[in-house]
Amino acid sequence: MSKFDVSKVCNIGISAHIDSGKTTLTERILFYTGKIHAMHEVKGKDGVGAVMDFMELEKERGITITSASTCAEWKDHIINVIDTPGHVDFTVEVERSLKVLDSAILVLCAVGGVQSQSITVDRQMKRYGISRIAFINKCDRTGANPLNVVKQLREQLGLNAVLLQLPIGSEDEFNGIVDIISNKALYFDGKAGEDIRIENIPENMLEQVKEMHEKLEDALSLISDEFAEKAIEKQVTEEIIKKTIREATIKRELVPVLLGSAYKNKGIQTLLDAIIDYLPCPLDINPKALDKDKNEEEVLLKADSELPTVLNAFKLEDGKYGQLTYIRIYQGMIRKGCELTNTRTSQEIRIGRLVRMHADKMEEISEAYAGDIVALFGVDCASGDTFTSDGLNYTMSSMFVPKPVISLSVKAPDKKTSDLMSRAIGRFTKEDPTFISFVDPESNQTIIQGMGELHLDIYIERIKREYGFALETGKPQVAYRETISRPTEFNYTHKKQSGGAGQYARIAGIIEPLLDKDYEFVDEIRGGVIPREYIPSCDKGFSECMKKGTLIGFPITGVKVTINDGAYHAVDSSDMAFRVCAITAFRESYSRCSPVILEPIMSVSVEGPADFQGTMLATLNQRRGTIVSVTDNGIFIRVDAHVPLAEMFGYSTSLRSSTQGKAEFSMEFCRYERVPESIAELIKKEYSDKALRIK
């Protein structure tokens, strides 16, 4: 490969509804870019699975669990293809991969068109400002109607979608593509469509092509004054058209639409051409980093290899070769042996082996530059870590990792599998910061925590497949919180002066509710009634109580403790005395503060055909959901609601069965809210029963 040229790099993701042929398309892209030497059918007809989906699980569930990054080369360009998870239970992972992409290919089925999941995907793309090309796949199928799909893109997703090609022949007679820009017909000959034959447009299509070409020029004139002028002066050339399309696509004012059939090997090379012609290179993107030294103020980065290095580790894989860390280099460059700093841990690392990744094969390289995506070996870090050179203290993403909302107790069937379980869980927690595990000191059970029922289910399944045994699981537990609803004054004396070393401390103050924060400690001690040196111990004691409330044993949040009076003893007071005093003062006053239970509320988005509107609304209503909004585009409805997580268990199955599998949902954490009285009573009872059992 010739010297790295960042203007010839495209970092793309492929986004699609289930069954639009995403995996076949990706494989075909890899074939034409010369990386694999034979093609295999996805279903494994000839016994070898598609290279990309190296985890069986994905094939079965139809969703992609982890990102894989593949390097492809086409006409002197590098195209890094990043596979993106589609399900919103993996918010952090989705966010990370979407930040790594510069653009995306939206794959649609020529028959099914825009499906309900496309609305979610589109929303995600808009959220991250990602430019895209649409590819209408499966043009060879019965019922294929690409023109209708373009209409749907315009009407249902509100995209300025413009068709750049027309199919020659429809359904099973689909055998070529007309390029509207060059006004030529292309046929894909050879066993794998690898030879492109250029001919004149078939007679019977001349009229239609002319019309489409005019439509294209009209659309471009609306977007670009410069183009409009050229059009009026009749000075439009192919080059100018392409340049305008590129500019408009990068500015997200236009979505070029191409078509083909990955399965029948038609339209892939033209798609690859479009990727390099119309999608942005890293220089067209303005990635922002946050400056930790300046309160996470935004800093613009440039894909310039001469500038100091800033790169982000977006995916970790603990596989057979050891730990592989996928990185996106935003600025600067790296080479084997160079040193960088992890801005989260302040640790220094040395770059060892550097590789360019294919889904299952590796290519060793000695250096990599800004704009590229490569992988490192032997680097110990967490997903999301940022590495820099020259002392820059930047981070690519806010240090915020959402707290898990659901936990589950798990047990291995026997001692041997118990070790495997620990290993597996250890591996997963390192790759995914939103997946947490610990041993509960009280019950001695292993607990796993995550962002949703599906999130945990997938890991349990993976353990089954990859390690060969099934975990025994307890009942999923919602992460409740406790808080107080009333301010209370306290004044507690801790005294132990009966023989030997005594303890003495007195603290007085107010405990009151606090909004928008977990805990705050205010010191209003005057006149040294509590010596300065013991104040931190008071703080420590109070904050220790916050870890576990006495109402239902869950963490306490939203408490402000102000101390304004107290007393000490010259000999018997100590750090410990004040700490214990604080803890006891708090525990004693807690019930007077009218503690209440908070439960996590999820923002749930359900999408499906309009016919099922009533059903979708009802399923949410039945689960204590409050409807926030309804979006109706005539064919699909999207309902957004706030639903307590405790009510969401089994929702997936319930929604599927009441809508004939046609509706889907996604959810993410919204906020904590007070639990209704009746439910609070049940939770309290459960807690006291459990406490009795342990005793």
Binding site: D516, T615, L617, A618, T626, I627, S629, N633, R671, E673
Partner: protein, 235 residues
């Protein structure tokens, strides 16, 4: 109590002085102005005012996204909270939105059937007892007074009143005298209350131009502050 304060002090109480004390179920009101003058802000005010009185509203829009509309509500509520020195505005806001459902629709050849279908669906499936609809972006130019009659029956049956936003052309607004613009005349019988927003130098003036069948029309001394988007009594 803060909530009662906000209700009592709301300039919209002035609208209550109108003939029937506001818009009755089965009746239609319109807020008219040129593009970008402040119809959405006014409608959001009316909606928030209703919610403060523990009534539920459904906000329908043909031209805005849910996120965009929610931002309107947040911004205006924030200003109101600040003005009245309310402390836990955020918490309060979360409670408020429980009484509001936003429905966003794409333009359609039969907008009323779409509105009716969605409103019925929401009210039935979730027992949301709405008492008022706010409808934005309905295209009156292509509207048919007959369809409105049917819609009024629907409103009456559901116990709903409805406020519509109407976009006027510049000429219609400029040449405004004291009554409903010419182009809108065919809807005169269907509308019970009509308010027009007129841009002045540093504020927007609200003018009542139809109040059921009352004549002469009472003057409502209300203004929209263009900076804070709050409605206040004429200074």
């Amino acid at each position: 109590m803060v909530k009662n304060d906000l209700i009592a002090r709301s300039p919209l109480r002035v609208l209550d002085r109108s003939a029937e004390g506001g818009l009755l179920p089965g009746h239609i009101g319109v807020i008219m102005s040129q593009k970008g003058v402040g119809k959405t802000a006014c409608l959001v005010h009316v909606a928030i005012d209703q919610i403060m009185q523990d009534k539920n509203i459904i906000h329908v829009s043909f031209n805005d996204s849910t996120e965009h509309l929610d931002n309107w509500y947040r911004d205006i509520f924030k200003e109101m909270a600040q003005k009245h020195g309310m402390e836990n505005a955020n918490e309060f806001y979360n409670d408020i939105i429980k009484d509001r459902i936003i429905i966003t629709l794409t333009p359609s050849p039969s907008p009323f059937s779409k509105i009716q279908r969605n409103v019925s669906s929401v009210m039935e499936a979730t027992h949301f007892k709405a008492s008022m609809l706010v409808i934005e972006g309905y295209n009156f130019k292509s509207g048919d007074p007959k369809q409105f009659e049917e819609f009024r029956l629907f409103l009456k049956q559901k116990g709903l009143s409805a406020w519509f936003s109407v976009t006027l052309e510049k000429q219609e607004s400029d040449s405004f005298v004291h009554e409903i613009p010419e182009s809108f005349a065919k809807f005169n019988d269907i509308i019970s209350i009509a308010v027009i927003l007129l841009p002045k130098k540093d504020h927007i003036s609200l003018r009542l131009i139809k109040d059921y069948n009352i004549s002469p029309i009472p003057d409502i001394p209300l203004e929209l502050d263009t900076r804070t988007l709050l409605i206040r009594e004429k200074t």
